[in-house]
């Protein structure tokens, strides 16, 4: 019973806390630039607004256009639940869960690109091509980081990999993972989520034709992904984890 309650609690935290992070980032950026900036809770307002709106679907689109963002959202949420949170165990920790995490993120990307191609727009296809090209580079970096952690901890479980204290090599790891975080979450200098410069966008191109609840799912998924990468980066570098023997194994 406690496991179920804990699971629900974690789910709630991931779902509710994720949109706070982009709000905080935007606020800090605005302060640095001498502006007041949008409210910290702006993304919550946006999501609430989008949820009440209708959806415009291209006449060319198959049901995959709707399924894409949904699959991507669920995949990112699943990946998030695999991640341990500091001294707290992962909700679904098991040996090899790190591979599932990587594949879930890849699945999310595939679903987004799929939905983009469904629109039949030449530009969305271009965006999908860009996203996948960047992903090839970013995934290689993630896998290298994971291999490093795995080799160091002699384990394929996220809980054990992320627990030990960081050695000097962690500086390199931190730099690499931070770069991946920027690239994967379309932050400056890889992409700029604020400007909406149509033709330079990478990730945003693929979601240009999404609207209403679908766009809400995309935005919320992006926020969760950002939080996921931030949590992964912090735990990979700082010795926050609980390195005692595991209490719970899968299954």
């Amino acid at each position: 019973m406690t496991t179920v309650l804990e699971g629900l609690l974690r789910l709630g935290v991931w779902l509710l806390a994720a949109p706070l992070l982009p709000g905080l980032i935007n606020k800090v950026k605005a302060w640095m630039a001498g502006r007041r900036g949008p409210p910290v809770l702006q993304l919550y307002y946006d999501l609430a607004k989008l949820w009440r709106k209708g959806v415009v679907v291209s006449t060319l689109a198959s049901p995959g256009f709707v399924a894409g963002p949904a699959v991507a959202w669920v995949a990112v949420l699943g990946a998030a639940l695999l991640l341990p949170l500091g001294p707290l165990d992962a909700l679904l920790g098991f040996p090899g869960d790190v591979l599932l995490l990587i594949y879930l993120l890849a699945l999310a990307r595939f679903a987004t690109a799929w939905a983009a191609l469904e629109t039949g727009s030449a530009f969305e296809g271009m965006g999908a091509a860009r996203e996948v090209s960047f992903a090839v580079l970013a995934e290689a970096a993630v896998i290298t980081a994971i291999l490093t952690l795995s080799w160091q901890s002699r384990s394929l479980s996220l809980q054990e990999m992320l627990a030990p204290s960081a050695g000097p090599g962690m500086v390199l790891l931190a730099v690499g993972l931070f770069t991946v975080l920027l690239a994967e979450n379309c932050r400056v200098p890889f992409d700029d989520p604020n400007t909406h410069l149509e033709l330079t966008m990478i990730h945003e191109v693929m979601v240009l034709d999404h609207s209403g609840p679908l766009l809400a799912a995309v935005l919320h998924g992006a926020a969760m992904k950002l939080l996921l990468f931030a949590a992964l980066l912090v735990q990979a570098v700082l010795p926050l984890g609980d390195s005692r023997p595991r209490r719970r194994r899968w299954p």
């Binding site: 530009f123 296809g125 149509e198 033709l199 240009l208």
Partner: protein, 470 residues
Amino acid sequence: MPEFLDHVGASLTRGGRLSSLFGVPTSEGGALQLVAVLAFDASNTLAVGRSQPFQGAFPALTLHHPQAHLFEREIWEQHGAVPQGHPWLKPVRRDHGAGPAVGGFFRVDGREVHEVAVGPVHAGIIEPGHFRFQCAGEEVLHLEIALGYQHRGVEEALPGGPHRASVHQIETVAGDTTIAHATAYAGVLEALAGTEAPFRAQWLRAIALELERLANHTGDLGALAGDVAFLPTASACGKIRGTSSTSRRCFVATGSDAAWSGRAAAPGNSNLHAWPGYAPDSTPPCVTSNRQPRGSGMPRPSGHGSRTPVESTPPRPAKSGWSARPPGRAAWCGTCGLTTPTGWYRFAQVPVSVWPDGDVFARARVRWLEIQRAGEFLRELFDTAPDGPLQLPLPPPTPNTLAVALVEGWRGEVCHVALTDARGRLERYKLTDPSFHNWTGLALALRGQAISDFPLCNKSFNLSYCGFDL
């Protein structure tokens, strides 16, 4: 008619620059006259030619002189006279009731080629325009731009005037080039009346024009920085731009009413006494306490019919513009300095800003240089405030006259041409914003570039949509 075209063609071959080319409908039987304004920058002269009335078609100049291509398309659109042999005859602003983007576009065939259509509704808050890219992968093979979504009929509203609203219509031709267009309009009216504005008003206009240049160049540099993800500079430039833009707005609200439209503006006048005391290292102070909204109860001793345009209109051009290049020339050459100055620029000149290249960086450097020089010029201006009246009564326009005003706006050459009828009313008023020349330049600059570079390239040109659409 052939004689006219031969002369224009020969002049263009000699290195002339086509500042404007337009049709004037004559009263008898739907015949059309063409008027060409040619600038010879090397010899600092301006030539105006007018054809005999003709009907129907005329041989296109575009075949040998590409700089005429958009003008000839415009003549065809406005008057129906067909430029024979024009290689790409399609509407400039309208498509006969449908949207501008409905017209035919050049298409590149091939299995690997795809077409990307952007606009007129964009993802950001910018003006409406339709861009049609022919791409092979990320590389742009061809770009065609369709504008006209903001066509308001400015040129159609002006004949029969000057009307009471004319000056305000001119001021809104392009919102970021208000001062340049208002100055050109004032210059035209003054030339038609055969008079010249008081020195103090000329001085005021020069200050406002340079402030406009400062504000827009600073904003553009910030926008360029934002596009290459250099956010601190983007923020800083936005802030600085606000200051000079506010200063400019103070002018529009106070001083400009007097300087451009001949109204009394005691508040503006007193405001400006604060300016000579401006510290060199700070931004100019802008006294806003005296600001009067337009149309408030300010005293207006002189009637609306009397205007005192300030920049004396030249028989010759004010400046040659850095953006008034023939389309297709990639080299970026900032010629902000004056080949033949008018107004206050006869007494103090700004050096020409040039950078030896034609890419985005070169355009940014030219803007940077122009900011420096406009700043220095402003300092000189503040030290040389002339005394005397700010306004004089404006005589009515001379009948059957043609007047040209060229003003070096921040984007380049703003060209206004007016013709009066036998009663001294405006018969035809032709506006040429620098954007009119340069949109084609942007389209050509993109060839062979990556499509993701378009926003940056577009911003480095920063052309006006509404100034083109009129």
